[in-house]
Subunit: 366 residues, 4 copies
C-alpha cells in the first residue's frame, strides 16, 4: 500500500533516507542456491555511486554494501536477503538553508502536504540515493538471469539534443566495454565526447540537462508477462517511471509507432531455421513483446529523464508559511543524471524480468 515494495515473486522492499544512518533493501523470494559475488554487486553500485567523475555530483559515498541475511556459505538460502549501505557523507549542514523553503520541482511541498512532516535534510526518501538499494538488488537479479542466458544492456543514447546513432550488431559484452570507456556511458565514442563536453559546459553554467537511456534485453524466452494488466512492458514501464526524474517510457516503435501504418508496423513471422521453437520476426516494432508477453526477440525500450531540479542559480519560490522568497542551490548535485542512471535502469529491468521469469514457472511448470 505505501509502495516501497516492487515485484511479486522476487519482491524487493527498500528503506532509508538520504541523510539518515543507512539505506537498505530486503529481497523476499530470492531463489535458493544462487552464488553471491559481493565484488560484482559492488561493481554495479560503483557505476551508480556519486563522485565517480567530473560530470557527477561530488558527494562522496563509497556505497559499500553489506549482506545481513539470506546467504550461507556463499549461496542464497531462499530466505530474505537483506543488504545494508551506510550513509557516510551526510553533511546535513548543506541543507539547513532549505529547511523552510520548497525547492522548485522537488518533492518538498508534496511530502509536506501528504505527511504533515518531512526530513528536510536533502530529499529524504525522495532522494535518488534510494536507488542505490535497487542497484544492489538488481545485481543479484542480473546474476540469476545471466545463468539463464538473459543479458541486459542500457546506455545513454541522448543528452540534451545530442543523440547517438543506432547501435550495430555488437554483442552485449562488446557494448559494455565501449560504454565503460567513457564517463557519460554512451556506447558510441564520438557521441560520448560531444555529450561530455556539453554536460561540462552546462555544469559550469550552474545548470542541468536531461537525457534518454536506451535499453536492450537479449535472450528472454517467449512466454514471460501476463496478458492483461501485468503485461511485461507495462511492468517495465512502471519500473522505469518509478526512477527519480523519469518523465517518459516507450518500447518497440514507441511514440513513433503512432504515426505508422499497420502494413509497415506489423512484424512478419519467419522460421529460417525450420525450428518451431525458434520462430522469429523480420522486423521488431513490437519490441520483443506481443500481447504483453515476450516473443523471444530482443526487448528494447527508451526512458526519458528530465533535467535535475537542483541548479546553482537563484530561483523564486514559496516558503513553508506561504511567503514568496528566493532560493539558491547549494550542496553537491549532478549536472546530468543519466550517466549514473544507466545502472539503475539495468537494475530495474532485471528486477522486472526475473520476477516474470519466476512467475511464469507456476504456469509453465503446472
Amino acid at each position: 500500500m505505501a509502495g516501497n515494495s516492487f515485484g511479486q515473486v522476487f519482491r524487493i522492499t527498500t528503506f532509508g533516507e538520504s541523510h539518515g544512518e543507512a539505506i537498505g533493501v530486503i529481497i523476499d523470494g530470492c531463489p535458493p542456491n544462487i552464488e553471491i559475488d559481493l565484488e560484482y554487486i559492488q561493481s554495479e553500485l560503483d557505476k551508480r555511486k556519486p563522485g565517480q567523475s567530473k560530470i557527477t555530483t561530488q558527494r562522496k559515498e563509497s556505497d559499500t554494501v553489506k549482506i545481513l541475511s539470506g546467504v550461507f556459505e556463499g549461496k542464497t538460502t531462499g530466505t530474505p536477503l537483506a543488504m545494508l549501505i551506510p550513509n557516510e557523507d551526510q553533511r546535513s549542514k548543506d541543507y539547513s538553508h532549505i529547511q523552510d523553503k520548497y525547492r522548485p520541482s522537488h518533492a518538498d511541498y508534496t511530502y509536506q502536504t501528504k505527511y504533515g512532516i518531512r526530513d528536510y535534510r536533502g530529499g529524504g526518501r525522495s532522494s535518488a540515493r534510494e536507488t542505490a538499494t535497487r542497484v544492489a538488488a538488481g545485481a543479484i537479479a542480473k546474476a540469476y538471469l545471466s545463468k539463464h542466458g538473459i543479458e541486459i544492456f542500457a546506455h545513454v543514447s541522448s543528452v540534451g539534443t545530442i543523440e547517438a546513432p543506432n547501435l550495430g550488431d555488437l554483442s552485449i559484452k562488446e557494448l559494455v566495454t565501449i560504454r565503460e570507456q567513457n564517463i557519460v556511458r554512451c556506447a558510441d565514442p564520438a557521441t560520448a565526447n560531444q555529450m561530455i563536453t556539453f554536460i561540462d559546459a552546462v555544469r559550469k553554467d550552474g545548470d542541468t540537462v536531461g537525457g534518454i537511456i536506451s535499453t536492450v534485453v537479449k535472450g528472454v524466452p517467449a512466454g514471460l508477462g501476463e496478458p492483461v494488466f501485468d503485461r511485461l512492458h507495462a511492468d517495465l514501464g512502471k519500473a522505469m517511471l518509478s526512477i527519480n526524474a523519469v518523465h517518459g517510457f516507450e518500447y518497440g516503435s514507441g511514440f513513433s509507432g503512432a504515426s505508422m501504418r499497420g502494413s509497415e508496423h506489423n512484424d512478419i513471422f519467419v522460421n529460417p531455421d525450420r525450428n518451431i521453437k525458434a520462430i522469429k520476426t523480420l522486423t521488431n516494432f513490437s519490441g520483443g513483446i506481443q500481447g504483453g508477453i515476450s516473443n523471444g526477440m530482443d526487448i528494447n525500450f527508451r526512458v526519458a529523464f528530465k533535467p535535475v531540479a537542483t541548479i546553482m542559480k537563484a530561483q523564486n519560490t514559496v516558503d513553508t508559511s506561504g511567503e514568496e522568497t528566493q532560493i539558491v542551490g547549494k550542496g553537491r548535485h549532478d549536472p546530468c543524471v543519466v550517466p549514473r542512471a544507466v545502472a539503475i535502469v539495468e537494475a530495474m529491468a532485471a528486477l522486472v524480468i526475473v520476477d516474470h521469469f519466476l512467475r511464469n514457472l507456476s504456469v509453465s511448470g503446472s
Copy 2:
C-alpha cells in the same frame, strides 16, 4: 499473480474472452453509498462500443451492462460490485481461417507459447474487447471522483502525422461537448475533420494507422501517490501501457523534457492568493506530480497507440506447425483505434486516481 486485477483499495478483476459467452468485472473495495446511474455507465460504454461510426469496426455489440451484486436500492453497499456484459455478435466463423496461423503483431504466438492452448476465435483474452469491462468500472470511479471535484478529460490529439494544437482554457464540460461533436473525438474541430478524412482513406486502403491520446485531470488534491515505486505517474503509466496497442507513455514535459535545461524546466512555486493551501506553480512541466505525489496542479499525460495489427492485405506469416504461409485479414476491425480508446484512457485514469484517493485516506486520516 496472473495479472487480471488492477488497483489496491478500489480493485478491479476482469474476465471473459472476445468470443465467449460474456465478459465482466468485479470491483472489490468500491466505497459504500455511491449512487449508481446505469445510464451514465452505459453512456461511457457507448463511447467505446464497436460499430459506432464509419471509422470503427462494424462488429455489432450493444455492450449492455448488467449489475449482479453490490448495489442495493440504487446505492453501493461496500460489497463486491459485479457487472456482466454479454457477447452478442460472436460470429466465430470469421476466425476459422486463422485457427492454425499466427497473425503478425497479434498475441496468437505468445499465448500459444505461454499456455500451450488458446481460444483461436479472435483474440480471446488478448482482444481489446476486455477493455469494455474497464470502461464500466471506470464509470463508477469517475462518478465517485466527480463528487470529490475531480474531472478527467482525454481526446485524440494525433492521428498519423496530423496533430491537434494545444487546447486553450476551456472547461472540461466545454471540451467534452466539442469532442463529442465529431466521430474521431478530437477537441479541435478543424483537426478532427482532417483526421476523419485520413482514417477513412486508410480504411479504404485496407490499412490501419496509429495515434496519440492526450489527457488532463483537474481538481486532484495535493498528496495523492506514494513516494517510491507506486508514484502516481508510475501507476498511470502502467495503467495506460496495459491498454491494447499502447507503446508509449509520457507525463508533464515527457520526452521533450530530456532536451531541456533545469533552469527552464523547473516549475516556480507561487502563492498568488496568499493561501497556504493553494500554492501553485507558474509552469507545469511536472505534469501536476512531484516526487510521485500530486501537487494540486492539473495532471497531464500522453499515450501513444500503434496501428491496429489486423489489416485487409495479404501478409506472410508462420503456421502452428512452423511452416511459412500467407494470411489475409477478414472480419471486422478498426482502421484506427484511438477514437474508441478515449473512453478506455479516461476509465483507466479514473481507476488509478480513485485508488490513490482511497489509499491516501489511510495516511491523511491516521
Copy 3:
C-alpha cells in the same frame, strides 16, 4: 484490501449477496490445460446445497453453476475462469420482519456500523450462501490436486457432545463412500445415526447446535508452505476461520498438545524403505507440517462451528433506532450447519493447497 479474494497464484474473488440476482467467482491463475468436468463441480455443489435432507434448511436452490470464461473446448486456458450461480428462491418477503432489527449473533449490526448501509434481505454478503462459490472453485482445485496424487477428506466428527471415534486405516475413497451414505456426513455410521437423531430433536425444538469437522489430506509432497507468515497451517487456519460460524482451528496435536511434554510430542524420523525421498515420522503430532512446511505425512486439522444464530424462538434485541425489542426467527434455516459445511471445508483446504503447490513451483523450479 476489501478482502473478497483468497490465494496468491490460484486466486479466487467471489461476489454476490444471498438475495441478489446471482453469486459467482473468478479464478485468476488457474493452470491451463485442466480438463473441466461440470458434472463433478455440480456434484460438489450438491453436497453444500440447501434442501438436501430433513436436517438442512428447506430453502430450495438448485445451485446450478455456469462457466462464463476461461474454458475452451473442455479445457482451461490459463485465463480467468468465471462461474455464475443464479439465486432462484429468494423469497425476500421472509425477511421484511427483520429489516429494522439487529438479529442476535448475526452480522446485521456490524455491517450497518461499518458501511452505513446494508442489504437487509437475509444476510446479504454475510450469508453462508457466498460459500457456494468457494465450493465451485474448490472443485476445480480438487480436480487439479487429484491429478497430482493429492486427496482431501473431511467429515463431521462431532455434533453437540456426540463424538465420532478416530477413523481407521481406510482409503479416502472408502471413507467418502461411508460418509455419503448418511445425511450428517460422518464417516462412522453408528455415530452418524446418533447425530441425526439429535439434530432432528434440536430442530423440532426450534433450536440449533454446533459441531466439529475433521479433515485429512493425503499425498501432499514435502516442501509446500512458506516459513514465516505464510506457513501452510496458518493459511489453512485463515481459510477455515473465514468460513461462516467457525470459531476454532487446530492441526496436529492442536489444543491437546498444550498439555503434552516434548518427549512424547516429538515425531521421530524413520526411514523404513531406506529411501531418502520417503522419510517418515513414527507419530504425527506435527499434523504433516513442520516449520510451516509440509513434511510428506498426512495433513490433519479440525474446525469448530458454533450453532447457527437463527433460531425459531423469541429473543430480545435492539432495533436500528436503538430501541430494545423482540424478534422471532422466520425463514428457512439449518438446525446444524456442519453436514453442509463438509464440502466447504474440503474446498477451502483444496484452495490453500493448490495455491501453495503452484507457489512452490517458483522455488523448486528456479
Copy 4:
C-alpha cells in the same frame, strides 16, 4: 509470495537468521507523526528476550534495537521504518553436532527438502529468534493503538494441565502489573506459582511442556474487519498460527461453542445507555466479532503452543543421507515457550488490529 511480510496497510517484512549477523524488520505504511519511544520498544523486547529467568533459555541476547530510517526528530515520517537487532551470542559451535541430522519436530528436514540448502546453525530462519523483530514492530503498533484507546493484554492461562481461573473485572493496567510480578506471566499469582514449580521440574528432567496464552483486546471500535476472507478473527488466527510452536487458535466460545445450542450461544443486544453508538451484548460468545467485523465488545481469543522440540534426552532420528541415527539435544533452549511468547502474541494482535484500523479508514472516510 515467499511470505516474509504481514499486513496490508501497516505492512511488516522481517529478515534474518538465528545465527547470522542481525535480524530486522521494515514497517511500510507506518502512519506519520507517531512519537517513537525507544525505551518502550526495548521494554517490550525485554519481555521476549532469552535469559530473563530460570525458566527460559540461557542464551544471552540483549536484543538491543536500533532504528535505521523512518523517524525524524523523534516522530515517524510515513516512510519505511527499519529496525535492526544484532545477534550477539551466536555460539555456532553448539550446533555442529546437528549439521547432518534432522532434529525431530524441527524444520530441518522440511527446509532442506524445500530449498535444497539450509543454514544448519540452529534453526536459521525457522528459529523463534525471528519473532523478536515482530515484537519491535508490534510495540509501535501498540503505541499507535493506545493513542486511539485500544489496549491489548495477553497472559499464560495454562501450562501442561495447570489452568488459571477466569480473570475478573480488573483493568488492563492492573492485569499487566500482576502478570509482570511473576516470571511465567500468568495474571493469577497462585496459579503462576504452580506453573513455575512445574516448568522447573520439567526443565530438570531435560524435557519441555506446552501451554496456552489467552488474550483480551479492549476499546476496539465497531466496524474493523472485512466480511469474507479477511475477517478480523481469520487474520488474528493466521497471525497467531504464524508464531512458532502454535497448533491451535480459537476465539469467543471457540471449540466449546461446538457443543452449545443457539439459544444459549446467541449474544443478546442491549442498549443500557440508550445510546445508538454504544449498543452492547449481554454475553460475548462472539468474542467481540460478528460476521468477521468487530462489534465494539472485548475481543478475546486463545492460542495453544506445543512443547518445545529441543529436549535434553537422546532421540532416534535420520541423518541427511537417510541413515537412522541418534541425537541428544545440546545448546540452550526453553523448557516452556509461553512466558516469552506473551509478548509475541500481543505484538501480532497489535499488528492485525492496527492494519484493520488503517484499512477501515478507506471505507469509513470515503
